[in-house]
Subunit: 357 residues, 2 copies
């Protein structure tokens, strides 16, 4: 019998197809195409093909916009939004419009065209997290921005137009619908129960344990109860914190470890699947620090979203979340220690520049 | 300068990229693959490969589950939900679950494997609309069902796993999230302004006219102000009516004409693009007839939905809706009369069975 499950935050119902035990190998995907090496603007030595760098982790003595970096942030050459403009809203009868003001940045994660976040050493992922934080905190200073969305598209099926490893940051002059919904739900729950709903979910999941995948001192990774997609996962800080930008320095490495670990397990379990991840955080100007709880949502893109899903906000998930969690728990036999971790392929020391291959 | 537009119903913001005039030919798509002819279970003569028919339009004297039909409704062989079971909800801590009870039916639209709704004669589309209505009304009688979603996936990119022309109907024991949101917004607007928001939009659009595409005595087709997708369109009844199931017999043909017309124009304009369409209607047990307004949402699937959209509910649309409307208005030079219309390829008389080719 299929099962209907309701997500307590989005109030979205999901059909969980429990009848057939789907295995990771049941999901064929296109794979991660890497055929744009000769025209890639993000490879080392081609720094002049991007707008000037906004932030970079560089070897001592190297100059901006040249070789010698490990992580590099630039403006998107084809931005969805423009930095100049006003945020004044105008009404046209029933409709509301404003200028498309915002920032659209690209975080180039490594010089190596062929690697990805789940294969890099943890120390390198720490540099990427620091780049996220620096840009996230910096854009808060522009009073026109209400929200900054950090996300990553891996593979063409997940919307990546370039295969060189990169994430994106879009700062927006309005709070997006899904963020507002999450915040409303969190505030409603807090109003009724006096507790953050994410903290309550964490407590319940840490008791049940059948949807837990990984944890370290500061973070828990789990398969959500009402997962919309096969092998969907969440990473949550254990301690209540609404704002990603408030991440203390001593947790940067723990977040890098949790993120790298989950992406590595997905890589093993599903043979380098296309995926999106998104950092959900409190809007810049929100006061609801008590109710919200920042988190990372990772969504492998293995199934097609069709008319039913678009029309209803209802999803059909062919993999039971507890089964997905079990596969992902078992994907790596030994727990990975905090500290430098050997990736699938050799990389330079921290601070060294990564070689293109 | 890109423009931000807010949809007054969903309160979703959309980035409209106004800088580059995108033309229909800018959108490459995979096309509609038709390679499953020899194993297609929906072709005439293979009626034993589907579950028994629930409804059919048949030539006089032909027996159920054999040849001689023009439109045929069967249960989905691999249903997302099962007809047996209870709708009792159980709480597991913070989570809610219930049995996956529902109906999942397939409306096979024609015997011809190679045609589609936008190419069939209007008289044939009338038969399809009647099949929709019969099944939609019939399932209302099952007190466990709260909503029935009628939708169509055209092409693999839009989620169709079989290329033979067909639509689907899923009856659900809960009101889906997106439907509940729409209804909430409509009731809020009615509470504040004493008028249906869709009626108000229709009035505004019929004055402005730059997003109107087509109209007949009973229906209007337009490009929504804050369209999420390039060439997205809506078909709305002109007279206020919340319930698709209440369609009067004298409007069946006008709806068939409007739907066929819009799908035909998309076919011409975008070279038979993949698309989804969805009928949005009042939940079976809702009392909010004054506030809601049923409609058909048609979404060509030309762009990739990536991390940004999933994480934010924000969309980037590279085509200005007014431009999309203009292309679709101009796609057919002469207005199409109500009445039998010649399709791109010859078809039999109304009531005759359609030939496989």
């Amino acid at each position: 019998m299929p099962e209907l499950r309701k997500d307590p935050i989005s109030r979205r119902w999901v059909i969980i197809a429990t009848e057939r035990a789907a295995r990771p190998t049941d999901f064929k995907h296109e794979g991660i195409e890497v055929n744009d090496l000769d025209r890639c603007p993000f490879c080392e030595g081609r720094e002049d093909r991007t707008p000037p760098e906004i932030y970079a982790v560089r070897a001592a003595g190297t100059a901006p916009n040249g070789k010698g970096w490990t992580v590099r942030v630039v403006s998107n050459k084809f931005p969805a939004l423009r930095i100049e403009g006003s945020t004044q809203r105008t009404k046209v009868g029933l409709f509301t419009r404003m200028d498309g003001v915002g920032a659209h940045e690209v975080i180039v994660e490594a010089t190596d065209h062929h690697t990805h976040l789940g294969l890099l050493p943890v120390e390198h992922v720490v540099q990427i997290i620091r780049a996220y934080l620096q840009r996230y905190r910096d854009l808060r200073g522009d009073a026109r921005f209400e929200y900054a969305l950090l996300f990553r598209n891996h593979g063409r099926t997940a919307g990546a137009s370039l295969s060189h490893p990169h994430s994106q940051l879009i700062a927006l002059p309005v709070v997006p619908k899904r963020v507002a919904e999450e915040l409303d739900a969190a505030e409603r729950h807090f109003g009724q129960h006096g507790v953050c709903i994410y903290c309550a979910i964490l407590e319940q999941e840490q008791q049940g344990r059948d949807r837990l995948i990984f944890e370290n001192e500061a973070f828990v990774a789990l398969a959500p109860y009402a997962s919309r997609f096969p092998f969907e996962t969440l990473i949550l800080p254990k301690r209540h914190e609404a704002d990603f930008g408030a991440l203390p320095p001593d947790q940067e490495r723990l977040l890098a470890q949790a993120l790298r670990e989950m992406l590595h397990r997905l890589h093993i379990c599903l043979d380098n699947p296309p995926y999106n991840f998104i950092i959900h955080t409190l809007p810049y100007r929100s006061e609801a620090k008590h109710a919200h709880h920042w988190h990372v949502e990772i969504m492998p893109r293995l199934t097609q979203v069709a008319g039913f899903e678009w029309g209803s906000g209802f999803y059909i998930n062919p993999v039971v979340p507890e089964e997905a969690a079990r596969y992902l728990r078992e994907a790596i036999p030994a727990p990975m220690p905090v500290g430098p971790v050997s990736a699938g392929r050799p990389h330079g020391e921290v601070g060294d520049r990564m070689r293109d291959s």
